[in-house]
Amino acid sequence: MSYYLVILVGAVLVNNFVLSRFLGCCPFLGVSKKTETALGMSGAVVFVMTVAAAVTWCLDHWLLQPNGLGYIHTLAFILVIAALVQFIDIAMKRFAPPLHAALGIFLPLITTNCAVLGAAEINCKQGTGFFESVFFSFAAAIGFGFALVIFSGIREKLAYADPPRCFRGIALALVTGGLLSLAFMGFSGLVKLPY
């Protein structure tokens, strides 16, 4: 139990995917203008990353490694994740329209997201077990969503700020992201992650 807690705290606070590993910066900057959309995006990322971790773990352990093909896992993962997201998009639209209405519009943005791939990669590199891998991806996605929602709150506030012309828009968002990352460095060493 405490082991999973360590994974959770580690992935959310200490080695936050966005603020510490700098993965998933594109949606972090792109979908953080409004807190509502940030929440929706977070939900979609949690869903996709968890499912993707399960699928890639199976792929890696049952197909690639037995055939000694560990070196092409990046290629295989991209392919599978992209197809998976598309499939989820279609299936969700058909079977869970309300869920699709809430999360579906964010799915195209995640198709080739480095955070999803990154989580799969880290799992693959660490050689963790199935549940561990899935939970780590889930926790990492929670961390991503956590950072995204916080950031969206700040950006909503910044929408009413009056920065110098050259810093308007994405420049200011990047400065803010940097400062947020600086603040999160305070969590370093909070838990000693196995990886």
């Binding site: 807190t35 929602v149 916080i150 950031f151 709150g153 700040i154 909503e156 506030k157 910044l158 700020a161 009056d162 920065p163 110098p164 810093f167 200011l172 400065v175 803010t176 400062l179 947020l180 600086l182 603040a183 999160f184 460095m185 305070g186 969590f187 370093s188 060493g189 909070l190 838990v191």
Partner: protein
Amino acid sequence: MKPKETAEHYILSSSPHTHSNASVRRIMLDVIVALLPTTAAGVYFFGMPAVWTIATCVATCIVTEALCRLAMKRESTIGDLSAVVTGLLLALNLPAGIPLWMAVAGSVFAIGICKQVFGGLGMNPFNPALAARAFMLISFTGPMTTWLKPFWWRTPEAMTTATPLASMKTLFAAETTASASPHGLCSAATGGLPAIWDMAVGNIPGCIGEVSAIAIAIGAAYLLWRKVITWHIPAAFLMTVFVYSLVAGGAPAMAQVLTGGVMIGACFMATDYVTSPITARGKLVFGFGCGLICMLIRQFGGYPEGCSFAILIMNSVCPLINRWTQPKPFGARK
């Protein structure tokens, strides 16, 4: 041809037509006055290096602010004294005797990157002084964690030492292994901790402005009396730290409150208007969060002190707290 203007030419403005005479300048002046006791205490304990650090930070902040406004082609805002407050707060959160060029770098970062880039006072999401301190702590870890002893000139053979926080960290560690170790409200000094009285007065190593809890309390009382701050954030912050240490064990709860940046953080840094929630409920949540994160970092984190990081992290959550603690209008339907 323009017709002749009438003799009467009144000021036209929307009501109200009267004002309480409160002003940003006056508020900042109050904060500066409230910081004087702890500044004096810092100078008393650490001597000229403290004076130089404070002077450097304040001067650099003012100059940076002026230059930024000049570059942005906007009217100067030095007059509102907010740059002075930032400089002073930054200096009070630095160890005395830090190389002055580092103090300059921190001050430029505080005003330039953390404040004026966002458009100046009122727009910054993070407390400039704290962000600058975090920036310096990460960039100049050695000098930022080298502490002069109080009255260091009396012991020329060993002028620097560790802060009580480092000892407290080991106490936490000891606590987890040997649960029987003594702890309590303010039990006698354990594990090399200074006496509670020394911590209250400020006769301990630490940042210039954070050592003297009594001086900070005097300043905070002044701010409360002048209604510059409300009790919510300091009370929630300090109570959380206190209760957490009672529950978690380790160093005496009183020592946790009195050492490190908790006192100055709770009274002066976390209460910064711009970066703290506006509603009373939000302030309580904010203070609680600061205290909790601070103690988590103290107990488990890689840094001995988590106060500034805790406040910075809560700064980042502040817009969300504001959003979810909006007041309900008088007569609002349930």
